[in-house]
């Protein structure tokens, strides 16, 4: 194609404009600077950020040495911004004091509203005097953020992933010095960064971005890492966990229904059983899910593992000192994009979970919210706790935010009034969310008699009918005299 005169001048101006902008400093390339709306009472003197890409769930650890630059007031609130675009991906956030390892309280802030950033308020354990420094470590877990690239791989091929991130740590305060290290499971394949002036050093399986000096608050850019990662991306689309408390029988019954999908690179072509069985190396390097591991209580009994077809016999348990390790194998290996459903259940004695507040009729139940499965993300979780008949003033408390907590009534075996039920709906959970759920309720001793007396009343109704009917005269015509 021949360039005409006008096109060539157009191309020349574009090249000139690009070269002009590329000579400008990194921060001023972005014409609109984001302004931090939280009170600028801190200054970050040094920040080290690690992005751990070695698992399907990305862990970001940000360690910052912050200094109180306010002239005369002690500060207690440190703000940590998260891009709103990642609000669906952010699954878990904790903060701790780096020196004392003390866990700090993190709450989602609703006081400062910004369309682009969501602020999290981290409360310092002790107020920080002016001029003093403290070291804070913030750990966040991001789910569903890496993409398989290419999207389809062969059965025994290694899969590669692509990750887009911010070369600068997103801070609400200006940072004098900051450095980001990206760790990948195997050697880094490719790195692209924008703007191009950002310093990037690639060393085997690490990408070192920085150190950058005098970074403004809310500074952002884009960098891209391509890397190889073997193994599946386990994802549970829906989990329904039903817990039934029976005080009569001293029993806690748990039943969990899973819908699982492997979100790794999809399988190219057909699944070949011959290649799969002939090539054990392929099993190790491919992304098929061969089994699930989960922990259940030590005293669990009557454990079952079934699906719609029936019992699944490929399972095993291993008794550990403080729990039972349950190893489940699905009916078929799950390659990228493949899914399966199953349900498991067991009974366990209630006295490890339910405690009575001495002197009152109040009971407190402590159960794990979900059973932890390693490296797995949960999309929709429904936890249903069915309490014994006669439970009143039910209240459920979780250590983290959930979508909804509903109180209702269910009727099952031998119920007259129905059993109080707590339904908790949560989304985007990971293994770290397997913390304790507390439910408190009131249950008087006389409520134990509800069930036997309900059955007795039904029987009495039958007997009463019989007593009445046996004394009624249904003869047709008058009574005849006996001869």
């Amino acid at each position: 194609m021949r360039l005409t005169a006008t096109t060539s001048t157009l191309v020349a101006t574009i090249i000139a404009a690009l070269s002009l902008t590329s000579s400008v400093h990194a921060e001023e390339f972005w014409s609109e600077k984001d302004v931090s709306i939280v009170p600028q009472t801190f200054k970050i003197t040094n920040l080290l950020r690690t992005l751990d890409l070695s698992k399907p769930i990305i862990r970001e650890i940000t360690s910052a040495a912050v200094q109180n630059i306010h002239t005369d007031q002690n500060q207690t609130d440190y703000y940590f911004p998260v891009d709103q675009a990642y609000s669906d991906n952010l699954s878990f956030i904790t903060a701790e004091n780096r020196k004392t390892k003390e866990v700090l309280e993190v709450t989602k802030d609703d006081e400062f509203y910004d369309a682009q950033f969501q602020y999290y308020r981290i409360k310092l354990a002790t107020p920080l005097p002016p001029g003093e420094k403290v070291q804070i470590t913030v750990r966040t877990s991001l789910t569903n953020i890496i993409r398989a690239f290419p999207t389809h791989v062969g059965q025994a091929e290694k899969q590669k992933f692509i990750f887009f991130g911010n070369p600068f740590a997103l801070t609400a305060y200006p940072a004098t010095k900051q450095k980001t290290t990206v760790i990948t499971p195997n050697n880094v394949l490719e790195v692209h960064e924008h703007p191009e002036e950002v310093d990037v050093v690639v060393k085997n399986n690490q990408v070192i971005l920085g150190p950058y000096n005098d970074v403004n608050s809310l500074e952002h850019g884009i960098f891209e890492v391509q890397y190889e990662m073997t193994g599946a991306v386990p994802h549970i689309r829906s989990l329904r966990r039903e817990i039934e408390v029976s005080q009569w029988g001293n029993n806690l019954a748990v039943e969990e229904h899973y819908n699982f999908v492997n979100r790794g690179a999809e399988l190219k072509g057909q699944f070949s059983r011959i290649d799969y069985q002939r090539n054990p190396m392929g099993i190790r390097e491919g992304n098929g899910v061969l089994g699930f591991q989960t922990k259940i209580p030590k005293l669990a009994r009557d454990i079952y593992y079934r699906d719609e077809i029936g019992n699944i016999s490929t399972s095993a348990i291993a008794h550990q000192p403080d729990h039972i390790q349950l190893m489940l194998k699905p009916r078929f290996p799950l390659f990228g994009g493949w899914n399966t459903t199953w349900y498991i259940g067991y009974n366990t004695p209630l006295d490890g979970y339910l405690r009575k507040v001495t002197g009152t009729d109040k009971y407190i139940l402590k159960v794990p919210a979900i059973a932890p499965m390693p490296d797995t993300t949960y999309e929709d979780v429904e936890i249903r706790v069915v309490l014994p008949e006669g439970a009143k003033n039910v209240k459920a408390v979780l250590p983290y935010e959930v979508d909804e907590i509903e109180y209702s009534t269910t009727k099952t075996y031998m119920d007259s009034a129905g059993r109080s039920t707590v339904t908790i709906l949560a989304s985007n959970l990971i293994e770290d969310h397997a913390q304790d759920l507390f439910i408190e309720y009131e249950f008087s001793q006389t409520s134990y008699l509800t069930k036997p007396l309900a059955a007795a009343t039904m029987l009495m109704a039958i007997y009463a009918t019989s007593i009445v009917f046996s004394r009624l005269d249904f003869k047709i015509g008058g009574s005849t005299l006996k001869k």
């Binding site: 005080q247 009569w248 029988g249 009974n347 031998m414 408190e440 059955a455 007997y463 019989s466």
Partner: protein
């Protein structure tokens, strides 16, 4: 966060739950209450035109014993009601 920690302290200081009856007693009680309840039911069933007092004296214990018997029966076979 503080709500869970205060519930956790309440939980740790509480007394562990004790069932109203030991679990080993469930099958024994089930069989004995069901037998007694059926005895009274049979006594009512084969009676011929007795007084109402007799009928009630047999059906009420029968209903109560069978009610308890059904609960214990459910518990001893693993249906924790």
């Amino acid at each position: 966060m503080s709500a869970t920690s205060e519930l956790y302290t309440a939980w740790s200081t509480g007394t562990p739950f004790t069932a109203p009856l030991p679990e080993s007693a469930h099958p024994v009680l089930a069989i004995s209450t069901l037998t007694a309840g059926l005895y009274f039911a049979a006594r009512y069933g084969i009676s011929q035109k007795q007084s109402i007092a007799f009928d009630l004296a047999n059906t009420i214990p029968s209903a109560v014993l069978l009610g308890f018997g059904i609960v214990f029966l459910f518990l001893s076979v693993g249906l924790y009601v």
